[in-house]
Symmetry: C2
Amino acid sequence: MDFDQTYKGPYCPLTQIALAGSNAMNLKQLSEILGLSQTTVSRALNGYPEVAERTRLRVQHAAQKHNYQPNIGAQRLARGRSMTIGHVIPLSTQHEMVNPVFADFIAGAGERYSACGYDMKLTIVDDQNEEDIYRDLKSRGSVDGIIVHGPLMNDPRIPLLQELDLPFVVHGRASDIETPYCWVDVNNASAFQRAGEFLLSLGHRRIGLINGLEHMDFAHRRRAGLVAALEAAGITPNPDYLHAGEMTEINGHNAMKAMLALDTPPTAVVVASFIAALGVRRALDEAGLRMARDVSVITFDDDLSYLRNGDSIPIFTATRSSVRQAGRLSADLLISHIENPTAAPEHKLLEADLIIGSSTGPVPQE
Amino acid sequence: MDFDQTYKGPYCPLTQIALAGSNAMNLKQLSEILGLSQTTVSRALNGYPEVAERTRLRVQHAAQKHNYQPNIGAQRLARGRSMTIGHVIPLSTQHEMVNPVFADFIAGAGERYSACGYDMKLTIVDDQNEEDIYRDLKSRGSVDGIIVHGPLMNDPRIPLLQELDLPFVVHGRASDIETPYCWVDVNNASAFQRAGEFLLSLGHRRIGLINGLEHMDFAHRRRAGLVAALEAAGITPNPDYLHAGEMTEINGHNAMKAMLALDTPPTAVVVASFIAALGVRRALDEAGLRMARDVSVITFDDDLSYLRNGDSIPIFTATRSSVRQAGRLSADLLISHIENPTAAPEHKLLEADLIIGSSTGPVPQE
DNA sequence: CGCGCCATTCAAAGCGCTTTGGATCTGTTT
DNA sequence: AAACAGATCCAAAGCGCTTTGAATGGCGCG
């Protein structure tokens, strides 16, 4: 814990902030208007059974009429719960990419939070002290639970959160962690295995991979899946065909370009992200090659709202799984575990669809 | 206001939630350990001057040692402030795109919030009742201020927030609103005017526009800027060359494809987003045309972390302005107005850079 | 009639923090 | 020496809600 350099608490003689006299209607006022006790009004609004139905209706109408909303800080304090779920987004200065998948995941999760009365709190953490953030979140009572994004193969956040006894759901998994915990993940291995098998069935034997950073768990599994398909077909993966890096358009482009420069380039590639696949297409265009005819491409497609894979006919053959849906499921799972803390950890494994588009075709004749 | 269908308050006989006995260290305990009053401990930690420096150090050490963090709900209640800034993301079911720019903006703003001791609260609102959300936020004291995303030309949120007396900063502007308010915006008009002038200087006369939805303020201004450049050169914009739609890869592709099918297609296009520009490139590739040589392309580039415009040589000629930086500036502006509520509204107009890349060239000979 | 039993309602005690309005103790001033 | 000022510290009163434990009133029943 460090006492922040830039924020020193409420003492600020220069800009004396008028402590907002909260002009909003409060419980006391409302109960006086109604000629009822605060207890009864509170219970009426919170659905307790020991209040007469007539009274409840009267209270609800009055609340609506006077635009009463319980103060959230007071509720948090009194209930000992924050009704808030935290998302921590690490953003080191080296690796300062915001995961493009993030916005859609959040949108899915946020839908469910709203429906269940939870708030979403986002924390952008730009240094190494991510651990401190979690400890803080716990000890200040800022959140009732946490979503863990972008797990590594042996992610230290998982044991930490377990130790802190803060409910959490991982979006993804951590292969090297044995103890049970809650997660929601796509079956990355099977998706890429099927992609590989599909390419093999088209006659491809020289199959490349443009993967995400392989200390990320999802990338590790995708590689394993593809390699499994190749090896099952008696093919030893060619190291020159295996690329891993941040999943940007540029990296996709550069990786494809590098492979095209080989003596015997692959006839097909599997790409770990739609954005990288756009870069692959650019590299092919620059080389005067056409997708499907010259090089087959399969991409993973997170079904992002702003990057749809074509309207009617898909542009790319793809393994598709909606990350927004994963957001919804993660939110529901977390909420259910917050409200039922003794339940055993649960998880959900989603299967990606293999969508046939116009970026794959039979292996070209030599 | 409506009492949510799905969430009925704390009464839930089935899943009796153990009200977390908040095992964390609190102020009372800490003050007892130190043999001081809660007052003094609180003041010591909050930087008040009337506590002896020796005492302050002793308190800080003890706080650190016992891992004391003030409970956030209690602080909110006592201070009458939430130290939270709200971002409301509308997401109607028809128009269910998550703005791809959003993640980077949030990352920029979040950096500043963390540095200044504020939390960020995201609300995804999927129906029409966005107005209720703002009223709620105000009357529950959930947030101290709000960032308004994606303003329309005459955005009803602005007068609403003014009426509610809730500090806010608009990311963008609303052309039709006269009353002053805080905003941070790129000079969209000047950016697209310069883009137009640059194309004119290369000899282009048939210049197209692939714009965002033109009820969005930014899109309206971009169009105005481009049209101004054309008209200044004595060119009346051809309606067939003016497209507006959601800024997706597919729409960019379709708009370009439509223009290429004209008897006299444009020799250059200005595109309102990088993602749409990728679609434009695809349309050109499919038509066997090359960027720069056959058709010049200029795009607006928000400098998204996951969509960089090339590493060394930019792929596209572009008007560039970092949306992440806009996030930082918006956050700083909002915080300064929250802490100094009487200050007159301020705003910041950012100029985009015109970056010359390899997607533009002289007009082809007929 | 007197008793117990629901069904309702309420007063008051927190939740953990900030802040007001002194109190106490030095040291300084007249 | 009395009075005052400044530097520290404190007890207690909130902030607005939830929840405990008890009171109230109506009603049926022996």
